[in-house]
């Protein structure tokens, strides 16, 4: 009787341990992302970009911390103090070419995958770590204003008018 009870209690303890550890992880996260990148390059000296996203987990848990892989560097994501659940990844580029029009993929790691990443030393081991998720930064590209200024078109139009008039005038005068 006593042995049965002790066996049951160990099994129960083991099961609760599994449930507890499983519950802490965020399963199959879904991201809702808003991106921003500098649009007017004449107004700013550098280009800036920011990703704001919220995470939705299947089991309702929120990941405590997230880290982003930007250009090989792993940096922690900023979290909003006033509205919890929002994460921010920001970056700036000195030349607008680095944030050219297109999509940049950013890998995300949570606490577990981040510690696994830190323990990995070889390149293969680093690549083998499964990221928590991946979000995309959509850059619209910074504009420098219109290709040809409107003064160019004004000169062309008025120049054409003058040229036609001059041609007709020289016909008459000759």
């Amino acid at each position: 009787m006593f042995r049965l009870l002790s066996m049951l209690s160990t099994i129960l303890a083991f099961l609760t341990l599994i449930i507890l550890t499983a519950g802490q992880n965020c399963e199959s996260p879904q991201f809702k992302v808003t991106t921003y990148s500098t649009q007017d390059a004449r107004l700013t000296t550098e280009s800036a970009a920011q990703l704001e996203f919220t995470v939705k987990c299947k089991n309702g848990k929120q990941p405590s911390n997230l880290y982003a892989d930007i250009n090989g560097q792993i940096i922690p994501c900023a979290q909003s103090v006033s509205s919890p659940g929002k994460y921010y990844i920001s970056g700036s580029a000195a030349t607008p070419k680095q944030l050219a029009r297109g999509r940049i993929s950013v890998k995300l790691y949570d606490d577990d995958s981040y510690s696994a990443l830190r323990k990995a030393r070889a390149d293969d081991a680093v690549k083998a770590v499964k990221p928590f998720g991946e979000v995309e930064l959509i850059c619209s590209g910074a504009s420098y204003g219109p290709w040809l200024p409107s003064e160019f078109f004004a000169v062309i139009v008025f120049g054409a008018i003058w040229w036609i008039a001059y041609r007709e005038r020289s016909k008459i005068l000759v």
Binding site: Y36, T38, Q39, D40, R42, L43, T44, T45, E46, A48, A49, Q50, E52, S64, N65, Q73, I75, P76, C77, A78, Q79, S80, V81, S82, S83, K86, Y88, S90, G91, S92, G145, P146, P149, S150, E151, F153, A154, V157, I161, A165, E168
Partner: protein, 195 residues
């Protein structure tokens, strides 16, 4: 003799204790704007850089700058003015971007952002530091910016409309006399041919 020995001992002690300050990390925070000009109702981008100098990780970093940009003067477009990070490793730096939209024009003053952090995970003593500031800035009206940078298409269209009487009226006179003259010439030619 004894006094000299005591003095030497004391200096060695103070130097030894002074060395422990190097083991603590200090956070440097810069706050700058990457705008060339500040224009009313156009984006105003602020970049915060946090750098951890020193050999240890700092924890629980909080950045608070809501007091510099009151909600009645600036509208928040992108990012947040109160952000937190769980940790910042030694020697690492972070960037945080906030985009605002100034509602008013004129000279505006902004103060430093306040950053608080813990030097160790267990010790909850909070260290407060201030960021750099960019002082007084002049926010120009959108009209001033447009005068220099907008595409002026509408201005040219209006100019063409105002200049068109000067062009169209003489053209019309010339065209009228030209068509009359050409009609005369063709009439003469056809009458000559007939003859």
């Amino acid at each position: 003799m004894f006094f000299e020995r005591a003095l030497i001992f004391l200096t060695i002690l103070s130097v030894a204790f002074g060395q422990t300050d190097d083991e603590e990390s200090f956070l440097f925070v810069t706050k700058q704007t990457i705008n060339r000009f500040l224009v009313q109702n156009k984006e105003f981008t602020i970049k915060y850089g946090l750098y951890n100098s020193g050999p240890t990780t700092v924890y629980n970093v909080h950045l608070d700058d809501a007091h510099s940009f009151p909600i009645d003067q600036y509208e928040l477009l992108v990012g947040t003015l109160s952000a937190k990070w769980e940790r910042l490793n030694a020697g690492a730096n972070l960037t945080h971007i906030v985009v605002l939209k100034p509602k008013q024009s004129g000279i505006s003053n902004s103060t430093c952002a306040i950053v608080t952090y813990q030097k160790s995970e267990k010790n909850t003593d909070v260290q407060k530091t201030y960021s750099s500031e960019f002082g007084d800035v002049y926010i120009m009206t959108s009209r001033e910016y447009d005068r220099r940078f907008s595409s002026h298409i509408i201005d040219w269209v209006l100019f063409t409309a105002m200049a068109s009487p000067c062009i169209v009226f003489p053209f019309f006179l010339w065209f009228k006399s030209k068509s009359k003259y050409e009609a005369l010439v063709t009439k003469e030619k056809s009458s000559k041919k007939a003859q």
